[in-house]
């Protein structure tokens, strides 16, 4: 109710700035039929007397939003919540049952890399074929051909049939073609989920590039980090409806909280929550300590001092690709920082048994105050919590030798006078 009113207001406002809008989705409904044992045959149709039994369900219900040019919209939600359906309707692959979609500019959808590749044809021939499927003209492909091949790092293999490519080569070529399509509106569905770290980074760089060039992007992902980093706005779809729409942090936090609660409700993997602790506990945080330079444990630090957060953990089984993270909040709720091993490019292949991990700050930049620390271990996509200790640890910072004391942090800035004219003397 609340949400729809907010959207209504937004709708009215942006309508006036008509030329700024890139995508307008107007009360969109999409229905699917679920057939019980439907067979796509004439025999079946004739014998069953045209009465196929099916259930109808609404995959999208009254979706309504406007996206301005140059904005990046993230769509999150559980599997089956309608994310891909929405993207396909935006791409004109599916038609809505009610409502309408209008887009301004050339739309390009990257729903699957390498759709339309023919295994018998060479890389070169597939570049032209796939390019034209994605809407590039022969001339455009000619101009970009070397760039595409260079980006895919396939110079030596370009005249080889793609059936002889490794899956990595295949993906690189497909991606290189896809990113050279030059649309005004780009729709991306989970492409970043495939490929290794280096490939994902390349994808992200390219997306940032699109963003800075003022392209409109709609982006479906299960990676909350990517959503947080890339998007200006996020829609959370739940059972075909917009649950929340708004700034990325707000929506993502709400979503993660919901997912955690939901897992807990379903009793998935014996979720346990006691007070401000939740998670499936396949790997547990046993102890969190704050250490000073000499290694002694304490909770009172000075600005500029060495500061170490040490986490002792125990994994009850082999855990693949865990992500360790902490969050430091000032007592009044300001989030200072939330580093994790994935964001900081510390790749942990797997852990088993007991262990210790440390987050070391050589010179603590925090200004005086009281701080709460959250420690957590998550799966690689930062969605499933193994163990999450929400604001369970506290430490204080005192001024010490530092005089600067207003605000949250001391940033490494310097003052320097560049010029000073004595104007009074001239008068």
């Amino acid at each position: 109710m609340d949400v729809s009113m907010m959207l209504g207001a937004r709708f009215g406002r942006t309508k006036d700035m008509g030329d700024e809008m890139a995508i307008e989705v107007n009360h969109l409904w999409k229905k699917f039929r679920l057939y019980h044992e439907k067979q796509h045959t004439l025999k079946y149709a004739l014998l069953s007397g045209h009465r196929a039994i099916f259930e109808e369900f609404w995959a999208l219900k009254d979706i309504h939003f406007i996206l301005k040019r140059g904005q990046t919209l993230g769509i999150i939600g559980e599997n089956g919540s309608g994310k891909s359906t929405l993207l396909k309707i935006l791409a004109r692959i599916l038609r809505p049952d009610k409502g309408e979609v209008s887009t301004r500019g050339k739309v390009s959808a990257l729903l699957e890399l390498g759709a339309g590749f023919h295994p018998e044809l060479s890389g070169r021939e597939n570049v032209y074929l796939n390019g034209s499927i994605l809407g590039l003209s022969y001339k455009e492909i000619n101009q970009k051909f070397d760039e595409i091949v260079g980006f895919a790092e396939l110079e030596r293999f370009i005249d080889m049939p793609v059936k002889n490519y490794s899956s990595g080569m295949y993906m690189r070529l497909a991606f290189a073609i896809a990113v050279n399509v030059n649309p005004d509106i780009l729709l991306i569905d989970e492409i970043l989920a495939v490929g290794d770290e280096a490939f994902q980074r390349k994808c992200l760089e390219k997306m940032y590039d699109y963003k800075t060039r003022g392209k409109t992007i709609v982006f479906v992902s299960h990676s909350m980090d990517h959503i947080r980093n890339m998007c200006d706005e996020v829609i959370w779809l739940k059972e075909g409806e917009i649950q929340v729409r708004g700034n990325p942090n707000k929506v993502v936090n709400a979503y993660i909280q919901y997912v955690n609660l939901e897992e807990q409700r379903k009793g998935k993997a014996q979720q346990q929550v006691e007070g401000s602790r939740w998670g499936s506990r396949e790997i547990e945080i046993n102890r969190v300590e704050f250490l000073a330079d000499g290694g002694q444990s304490k909770t009172l630090f000075e600005t500029g001092e060495k500061f170490i957060v040490r986490i002792n953990f125990k994994a009850h089984r082999k855990i693949e690709k865990p992500v360790f993270g902490i969050r430091i909040d000032r007592a009044d709720g300001v989030c200072v920082t939330r580093p994790n091993t994935k964001l900081n490019n510390v790749f942990i292949d797997s852990v088993q048994g007991e262990g210790t991990i440390e987050y070391v700050v050589d010179s603590l930049p925090l200004l005086p105050g009281s701080y709460l620390v959250t420690a957590a271990i998550y799966d690689y996509h930062c969605l499933h919590s193994y163990d999450h200790h929400e604001q369970l640890y506290e430490f204080q910072v005192t001024p010490g030798r530092e005089k600067e004391s207003y605000g949250v942090v001391k940033i490494p800035g310097r003052w320097s006078m560049i010029e000073q004219r004595d104007s009074l003397a001239n008068d």
């Binding site: 045959t41 791409a91 692959i93 023919h118 018998e120 034209s132 003209s137």
Partner: protein
Amino acid sequence: MVEKLKELFVFRELLLNLVKRELKVKYKKSILGFFWSLLNPILTTIVFTFVFAVLLRIQPPVLRYGAIFSFPVFLLCALLPWNFLSISLSLSINSIVGNGNLVKKVYFPREILPSSTVLANLINFCLELLVLFVLLAFLGSRFFLYLPLLIAITIIQTLFTIGMCLIFSCLNVYFRDIQHLLGIILMIWFYATPIIYPFEYVLQMSHKLPWLPFVYKLNPMATFVLAYRSILYECQPPSLFLLGYAVVVSLLTLYFGYLFFNAYEPTFAEEI
């Protein structure tokens, strides 16, 4: 409608590339390439000539001066256009379902898929015709007299074929067993068209069944085959009445096929 055509124009390069893809894939695997595809009509001609001309003694009509008298040539003049239709239909019927991956993931006008198969086969057909021309020239036929008319007929037949392929490829999305049915339909259609026997045989029956020749000519493929044969084999202009009929039927088929296809196209991505 106008917008649809504009869009088709925008995607013309895709159509061209898909035609190229089809031809390349077809001929890529062998050095002989195109010549392999000649093998089918050659072998068919040999078998049919043995069965129908030698064993069953079917006689092509005796013709006036300037034409040749040969059952294999008589057969080929009709068999090649027939193959164009039947191969186009059997390949394109699966063009939507077979390219399901593409249909579900990328937007483009779907009619491009069956059309590209037809066009690829048209190119194949034209190459076969060229080979037939060489053979006819070698035999001293004056087939070239009405060559422009032949080109016109080929274009009309292409429109007809595209119309048929739009209908069948669309039906196949909803009824996958149409594919098997198509084989039977094509077999009946083949024998209902004067390909292995001259139309004169049908005319001879008209004293017993006076309506038979009329019903025969309702079949647009019979009209096409008769037109091809009169130009290539008999070196005569085809009946203008028949040609007019072929144009009307072809345009109607294309129009109806297009409407039919477009009515169901929006749900393709869901049904595949």
